[in-house]
């Protein structure tokens, strides 16, 4: 009898301990994008936070709010270099949602003040894993290269963190991407914080509420909308003749170039 009870107690303790020890693969990864497109006299820095639980992840921009008027927020991308306004009344923002289980990638991206919900192919990369190795932060990293939509990239991933994630749309490697940049060094994403211990609400990893009623467009449709916007702005630029104390000329209207060329 005593032995029987002992066994039951052992089983209960074992179940409790097993539950406590059950590993939950989740974490928050923070990446820094250094954008050196020569449009400003110094590179601009933008930070992103990526939440993942098992095979789903979502990445958000971390805005640097300078002034919040309710209607607009003024965001300072990099200290004194460039300030721009973002309309916040619709509460939309940049995000990248990856779903490994369903092999889906969904993202929210803007052209000027309009945000679009875009469906894209998940891990659309053909990685070439090289033998080059390097220590970045405290991790042993392996170099992998790929071509993606008009740019050549090199990524450094680590087997020390066996999750197939990376910043922006990157991923699909047998370890976390610690750093990735295009070979012209215009876009450089670098990990600066990795927290696998903080707990957060899993509901965060879904299409944000503000986009819930939007129709998903394809990546090609988005590229076409952007191209049309560029053409429209060029037309406006040609028509915007101004005269002031410094003389007269045309005002150039431009929208920011995209990381994906096609």
């Amino acid at each position: 009898m005593y032995c029987f009870f002992n066994q039951i107690i052992f089983c209960i303790i074992f179940l409790l301990v097993a539950n406590l020890l059950h590993a939950q693969s989740q974490g928050i990864l923070s990446y820094k994008l250094t954008l050196d497109d020569k449009l400003t006299h110094a590179p601009r820095i933008q930070k992103y936070k990526m939440y993942f639980i098992k095979n789903k992840s979502i990445e958000f921009i971390i805005p640097r709010v300078v002034e919040d008027t309710g209607e607009y927020i003024k965001i300072n991308e990099h200290e004194a270099y460039r300030t721009f306004l973002v309309r916040t009344s619709n509460k939309r923002n940049h995000f990248v949602l990856k779903d490994l289980g369903h092999n889906q990638l969904t993202c929210g991206k803007n052209i000027e003040f309009t945000y679009y919900l875009i469906g894209d192919t998940l891990f659309n990369f053909k990685w070439n894993i090289t033998t080059e190795r390097q220590q970045i932060l405290k991790y042993n990293c392996i170099k992998a290269t790929t071509k993606f939509r008009g740019r050549d990239y090199e990524a450094w991933f680590t087997e020390d963190i066996p999750i197939p994630y990376g910043p922006w749309k990157f991923g699909g490697l047998p370890g976390l991407i610690i750093k990735v940049n295009d070979i012209e060094n215009v876009y450089t994403f670098e990990l600066f914080e990795a927290d696998f211990e903080t707990k957060f609400d899993s509901n965060i990893i879904s299409i944000p509420e503000a986009y819930k009623n939007d129709e998903i467009i394809t990546h090609t449709q988005f590229i076409n909308i952007h191209a049309k916007k560029v053409r429209d702005l060029e037309a406006i630029s040609r028509a915007s003749h101004h005269t002031d104390a410094n003389g007269s000329g045309f005002t150039i209207h431009k929208t920011a170039p995209l990381i994906e060329k096609f």
Binding site: L100, T131, Y139, I161, T198
Partner: protein, 877 residues
């Protein structure tokens, strides 16, 4: 010549490789030890000799993988399976002959891995982002900090007064938000004095805070709030802590505090019972802009006083039970309701002896010994609703009910000019009720203009019964042979106000126009009865009122550029005032202007001037006597009395938080009135008469200086605060009116080595001086000093000892207080343990002397003696 063999070699090499290249297929599933499939795990096939990755796959939802490659035959290969949070598994494929393999893996948990691979970017100790200063709470918290307030005290730029009011850069904090939600309003002491600091990630001081989102960018606000961000970011959670302290003489301090995020509701609650001196006498009240607690609203005010000018609030003989429950529910993005309930029961005990020496020509000495008890209670309920009626319109309603029953009893013996003491039994029963409703409708007309309509209705009712019984009154003709007296007072105050405000922003300029009307009525009904016969005594009936009606128009223009800001305001009022025998209607013009300039990056200079029409406190309007103490009768004023007050304020601020951890703030203010009130004092038949009389202009000057420097390496703070003030007042004795000047200096400085070194020390010095001059002659100077020494010795990483020694020198007498603490904080787990020894030298009373224009008062009050406590703290996650 050389090319040919090279070409042949390459050809042979390729041919050799092709001959041996065949399709290799390895399949299987990855599961954990509970049999659950592990998704997003990586499976790599590697060359065992050089560890080069040949091919890999990532598992899907079902944990399945497929390695498919036309791999060159390598003698030794590794199949490596890894997933975050699990131990890596490796299979050696040695002299692998087959071309298809099925292999399933079960991975074991690896709990240590997550902590090892995490990288925490060093979080700045203090970060300044525009109007927000963020303090990383962890860098200011030592294990002995039991509430957030003690951590806020260490933050440069912050100050916490003894009543719990928080100041940032010497400006008062109006609210404390939890994750951007206002749970407690002005009662934020409930949070700051009870919340466990280990739950908080950041304390953010937000300047120029605008409560209503609709008005952001349209108004230029001066409000400062604190926002607390929590460490645990989960939405569904209940976190908090509990402290259980119990010790000798049934001394105890039991408390629990919880924060819950459940569905759409965010809630904070705490409950605390202690009899270790934390007196809670001021309940949830906080000081106003002038650093003084609001007026009690009572005509008769008996309470147990602490005569220790430094730590009086923490040494009382008490039994206090208090708690609050505050919740906010966001029913939708447009509608939220905030409900709060506060409760307090504060029992205080005190033995007090008081000698009043009245100077010439009064020349009287009275002495009183009292055994006092009080039981003050508070029940308060608040409901605030916030409804976004349309995209550009918001309606808010704030309703509040407060009920405060208060009881004071004392058994006293009182003597007059050395006569035999007479016994006096006193009882005072008060019931204070307050109803308050604030309604507001905000309409955002455009991106730069808005209209705000508001209404306020409040009703205060105070009923007081003071019942002294003594043979002293046998010899006082004033009381008609009664030995038991009952002084009643019923005060009603009602206020109704409506206001319409138009707001417009143009470029960097802000325009505000208010038009409104305000009506208030205060009535005082009081009388004195012979309690035995239930018969009124002549000369004590008061049946007065004070009505104040006002219609006003206010225009304010402010301009804010990057470097300079200024505002100008003019209030035009038509005022009608009435008391029992007079009525008066007049115009009042009240101008105000302010100028502020930023110097460099972090320095600023502010100046402002205002002129206000000040009217006498409505509770001063009564013309017959009111018995307020054993031997005291008071009378008020009986004619309408208004005077103007000019205020000039200058402030300099230099704060370099994020890099230098430095804060320096200085201010000075000068006020002059063209009127004031004086008291006319005299004794007659052992009874002391005080009569309020309107009098001429008076002046006051005050200054404040605060210097704080934080040393992050050892978490040490150097602070220096100096607040001198000077005020002029008048007193009448007999027919002579004298002009008095009172000087007060309050100096405090603290320096220490923080809490990160193995052995730490801190030194503190506080000094208070109050001096009174009659014309140019100094008639009094009272000093109080506090010297403190604290040592913190880390015996090990988990065990430390704290010694806290204070030496007070108050009115020439010395007191030595020693507190000891031994704390054990295990590296892991939810428990902390401590042993406290308090007031080891067993000091049981503190004496103080107070000098006024008519005499001096020497008092002795009992304090909590020696006791020991054992303590367990539990954190609830």
């Amino acid at each position: 010549m050389l090319l040919k063999p090279l070409f042949v070699f390459c050809f042979l090499f390729l041919f050799y490789n092709t001959c041996f290249a065949q399709t290799l297929k390895i399949t299987g599933t990855i599961k954990d030890n509970n049999g659950e499939a592990i998704s997003a795990a990586s499976v790599q096939l590697k060359n065992a000799e050089n560890n080069i990755l040949l091919v890999y796959d990532i598992t899907g939802n079902n944990g399945a993988y497929t390695i498919l490659t036309k791999a060159a035959l390598v003698k030794k290969m590794y199949l490596v399976v890894s997933s975050l949070g699990y131990k890596r598994d490796t299979l050696l494929l040695h002299d692998f002959k087959g071309w298809a393999l099925k292999k399933d893996f079960i991975l074991l948990n690896d709990t240590k891995q997550l902590a090892e691979i995490s990288i925490k970017a060093p979080k700045p100790i203090i970060e300044e982002v525009n109007d927000t200063t963020k303090y990383n709470v962890k860098d200011f918290t030592s294990p002995e900090d039991r509430n957030l307030e003690s951590v806020i005290k260490k933050m440069p730029g912050m100050e916490v007064s003894t009543d719990g009011t928080i100041y940032f850069k010497k400006k008062r904090i109006s609210k404390v938000l939890v994750e951007n939600d206002d749970l407690t309003g002005e009662n934020y002491k409930a949070i700051t004095q009870n919340l466990n600091p280990n739950l908080v990630d950041e304390v953010q001081a937000i300047e120029n805070w605008v409560e209503d989102d609709l008005l952001k960018g349209i108004i230029n606000s001066d409000d400062i709030v604190l926002n607390l961000t929590l460490k645990d970011k989960r939405k569904q959670k209940i976190i908090g802590g509990a402290d259980i302290d119990y010790g000798t003489d049934n001394r105890r301090d039991l408390s629990t505090n919880l924060i819950g995020f459940i569905g759409k509701t965010k809630a904070f609650g705490f409950i605390r019972n202690n009899n270790v001196g934390s007196s809670q006498e001021n309940g949830f009240q906080l000081a106003g802009q002038n650093r003084k607690l609001p007026f009690s609203g009572k005509l008769i005010d008996h309470k147990i006083l602490a005569f220790n000018p430094f730590d009086g609030e923490t040494m009382a003989l008490n039994n206090s039970l208090n708690g609050s429950l505050n919740a906010i529910t966001h029913f939708s993005t447009a509608f939220k309701i905030n409900t709060s309930i506060y409760g307090l029961r504060n029992k205080l005990y005190g033995e007090n002896s008081n000698t009043n020496i009245f100077y010439q020509p009064i020349n009287v000495i009275t002495a009183t010994q009292q055994n006092q008890k009080s039981n003050n209670q508070l029940f308060q309920a608040d409901v605030n609703t916030d409804y976004l009626v349309a995209k550009n319109a918001r309606f808010t309603a704030k309703l509040s009910y407060k009920f405060r029953p208060q009881l004071f009893t004392a058994l006293a013996s009182s003597s007059y000019n050395g006569s035999t003491s007479d016994e006096v039994n006193q009882e005072q029963k008060d019931r204070l009720k307050n109803y308050n409703a604030d309604l507001k409708y905000t309409l955002k007309a455009s991106n730069s203009s808005a209209i705000v309509l508001s209404a306020k209705l409040s009703q205060d009712n105070t009923s007081q019964n003071y019942n002294p019984t003594t043979d002293i009154y046998n010899d006082v003709p004033l009381f008609n042979d009664a030995t038991s007296l009952l002084q009643t007072a019923n005060i009603n105050h009602s206020l109704f106000k409506i206001d319409a405000q138009g707001l417009k922003k143009t470029g960097k300029s802000y325009l505000y126009i208010n038009i409104g009307t305000e009506y208030s009525n205060t009535t005082i009904n009081s009388n004195l009865y012979n309690a035995a016969k239930n018969k009124a005594i002549d000369g004590f009936l008061n049946d007065g009122y004070f009505k104040n009606s006002k219609a006003y128009l206010v225009g304010k223009y402010s301009h804010k550029s990057d470097r300079v800001a200024f505002y100008t305001l003019l209030k035009i009022s038509l005022i009608n005032q009435a008391i029992f025998n007079t009525e008066n209607t007049f115009f009042a013009l009240e101008p105000e202007l302010g100028l502020s300039k930023k110097i460099g990056d972090r320095q600023s200079l502010n100046f402002n001037y205002s002129y206000r029409n000040t009217f006498a406190n409505p509770l001063n309007y009564y013309n017959n006597l009111i018995l307020t103490d054993i031997r005291n009768v008071n009378s008020g004023i009986s004619t309408l009395y208004n005077f103007g007050t000019h205020s000039f304020n200058l402030a300099y601020s230099n704060n370099k938080f994020s890099d230098k951890y430095f804060s320096f703030n200085a201010n000075t203010g000068f006020q002059c009135n063209d009127g004031s009130l004086l008291t006319n004092n005299f004794f007659e038949n052992t009874i002391y008469y005080s009569q309020l009389v309107p009098y001429k202009s008076s002046k006051s000057l005050n200054a404040g200086l605060g210097l704080q420097k934080f040393f992050p390496a050892v978490a040490s703070k150097l602070s220096l605060n100096y607040n001198p003030s000077l005020s002029e007042y008048f007193g009448q004795v007999g027919t002579t009116i004298n002009s008095y000047t009172s000087f007060t200096h309050v100096l405090s400085t603290k320096v220490g080595t923080g809490f990160k070194l193995p052995v730490n020390f801190s030194l503190e010095f506080q000094y208070q001086n109050n001096a009174t001059n009659l014309a140019k002659e100094k008639i009094n100077s009272q000093d109080a000093y506090k010297y403190s020494f604290q040592s913190r010795f880390n015996i090990s990483k988990t065990l430390y000892n704290l010694v806290d020694f204070s030496w007070y020198k108050i009115s020439g007498q010395n007191y030595r207080l020693l507190n000891l603490q031994l704390q054990y904080t295990p590296n892991k787990g939810i428990f902390k343990y401590a042993i406290y020894g308090k007031n080891i030298f067993n000091v049981t009373s503190i004496n103080n002397t107070y000098v006024s224009n008519v005499g001096e008062s020497r008092s002795s009050a009992s304090i909590l003696g020696r006791y020991f406590l054992a303590s367990v703290s539990i954190s609830i996650r």
